[in-house]
Structures are given as C-alpha cells and as structure tokens.
C-alpha cells in the first residue's frame, strides 16, 4: 500500500503540474518578470497548492502521532537559518531565472517530446550529485 500511495500521489502531482501550466517556462518567466508584462498566474498555482496543503497539514497531520502507513514522519525539523540555505536558494534562483524550469516541471515533461528536458535533467542530476559531495544533505 505504501508503494501504491507513492505511485498514485506522484501521478496526481504530475497531472496537477501539467494542468497548472508550470511546465511552460514562458509562464514562469512572465511571473518573474515583474518590470515587464507581469503575469501573476503562478500565484494561483502556489496559492491553490497552499490552499489545500496548509489546512490539510493543520487539520490532518499536525496532531497525529504518526503517518497512516509508517511509524515516523520524515520531516526536516532543522530550524536554523544558515548560509547553506541562503546560498543554495540563491544558486537555485539563478538557475530557475535563467531558463524558467525547476525540478518538478522538468520531471513531468520527460515524456512530452521535448529533448531539451533530458539535457536539463542530466545537468540537474550532476548538480545534485556535486551538492552531495559538498556535504551530506540532512533529511
């Protein structure tokens, strides 16, 4: 059941990603381009996700001792704001701003007939690999 849930939630996440329009880098760039023809559509994507996630977290997750199918929550409870977080987010921001593509949309687009996606994902995996060499990611 644990694995069925992983597959089905992945499916739902991918379909949502596709439907939301985030798989189109032009939409992302238009959102980030606040001094140009600003397009706020991305706010609705994130807003829609948080509209479900925040109440879901507060009502269904927070007061539970454990998940339905496992013993423990795999949550990052690190509360320190350190340079790793800021530098990592900044590097991510440059990459995201350059092309308008982040990991979720890239994975969702893998079988959409766009070969640029494969190149992007290969480079992204290389970047992730290097980040692991720099220091193990605490999870």
């Amino acid at each position: 059941m644990f694995y069925v849930i992983a597959l089905l939630t992945g499916l739902l996440f991918g379909m949502g990603m596709a439907l939301s329009g985030m798989i189109d880098p032009n939409l992302v760039i238009a959102f980030l381009d606040i001094t140009g023809h600003w397009d706020p559509t991305l706010i609705f994507v994130m807003g829609g996700a948080l509209m479900v996630f925040i109440p879901g977290y507060l009502l269904l997750i927070k007061q539970r001792q454990q998940p339905l199918l496992t013993e423990t929550w795999s949550l990052n409870n690190n509360k320190t704001i350190d340079w790793r977080l800021i530098i990592g987010a900044s590097l991510f921001g440059v990459g995201w701003g350059l092309l308008g593509v982040c990991p979720g949309p890239a994975i969702t687009s893998l079988f959409a007939g766009n070969t640029d996606v494969w190149l992007f994902i290969a480079a992204m995996m290389a970047g992730l690999m290097v980040s692991k060499k720099l220091a193990p990611i605490a999870r």
């Binding site: 992945g10 439907l19 829609g48 949550l75 350059l98 979720g104 480079a123 992204m124």
Partner: protein, 142 residues
C-alpha cells in the same frame, strides 16, 4: 487591466497540494522533488523504491495529461536564446542549489511553506527574488 482567474492553474495547484498532503498523511514523506531525486542518487535501501515510484508517477501524470487532459507542453526550452549551454548551466545551478539549500519550488514552496516552516518561507523568498533579478538582467539589461 483585464484579468480572469486562471482556473486550470488554480486547480492544478490544488491537485499538487492534495498529492503533497496525501503523501505526507499516508507515508510520512515530503513531496519535494529535488529531495526525492537526490535520494535516487544513492540506490538501494528502503527509501529508494517509493522515490522511484513517485517520480515514475509524475512522468506518467505528465504523459496522461497530454493524452487525456489535452495539456500541451512546450516542444523545446527556447525563450529568447536558449542554447544547449544555457540549458546545462541552468540545470546544473538548479541541481546544486536545491541540493545545498535542501529544497526547491515544491519542497520549500509548497510543503515547507505549507507547514509554516520559517526556513522554507525564507528560502522561497530568496530564490524568487534572485530568480526575479536574474530575469531582469537577462531580459532588460543584456
């Protein structure tokens, strides 16, 4: 300025939020794509298979949405002048940045903010601001 609510974007976002909540409620896992991909780099162990299935599900979801939801994907990543080199640089920075910063748009932006995590709120503000500056330089200064 005329503006209509982009319903499919709102609904797509809600689907992602629902998927994130279900994965957390049932499996206790965070739907952070960079974290899940990072985990796939060290194969084996009991964390490997669920990650693989989630990623396969996402790819399947993208494929299904083309054939059943009539979603059209861009045929290539060509903004103004996307060369293969630019794609590689962008991909590498997205990978190393989300690895060092422990999350990306989904992990920090949806699940992290969704748990009201201060770290994730800060990370999201930082990467959005930096991405905005990057776009400004690229589109309006170069």
């Amino acid at each position: 300025m005329e503006f209509t609510i982009p319903w499919s974007s709102l609904f797509g976002g809600m689907m992602m939020g629902t998927a994130g909540i279900l994965l957390l409620l049932f499996n206790g896992k965070i739907a952070g794509i960079s974290g899940i991909l990072g985990g796939l780099l060290s194969p084996g162990g009991k964390e490997f298979l669920w990650r693989l299935l989630f990623i396969a599900g996402m790819m399947g979801g993208g494929w299904l949405s083309i054939h059943f939801l009539d979603v059209s994907f861009p045929a290539q990543y060509s903004l103004t002048s996307s060369t293969p080199l630019l794609i590689v640089i962008a991909g590498f920075l997205v990978g190393i940045g989300s690895g060092v910063g422990s999350g990306c748009t989904s992990g920090h932006g949806i699940c992290g903010i969704g748990r009201l995590s201060v770290r994730s709120i800060i990370a999201t503000c930082v990467f959005m601001a930096v991405a905005g500056i990057t776009v400004f330089i690229r589109l309006h200064m170069l």
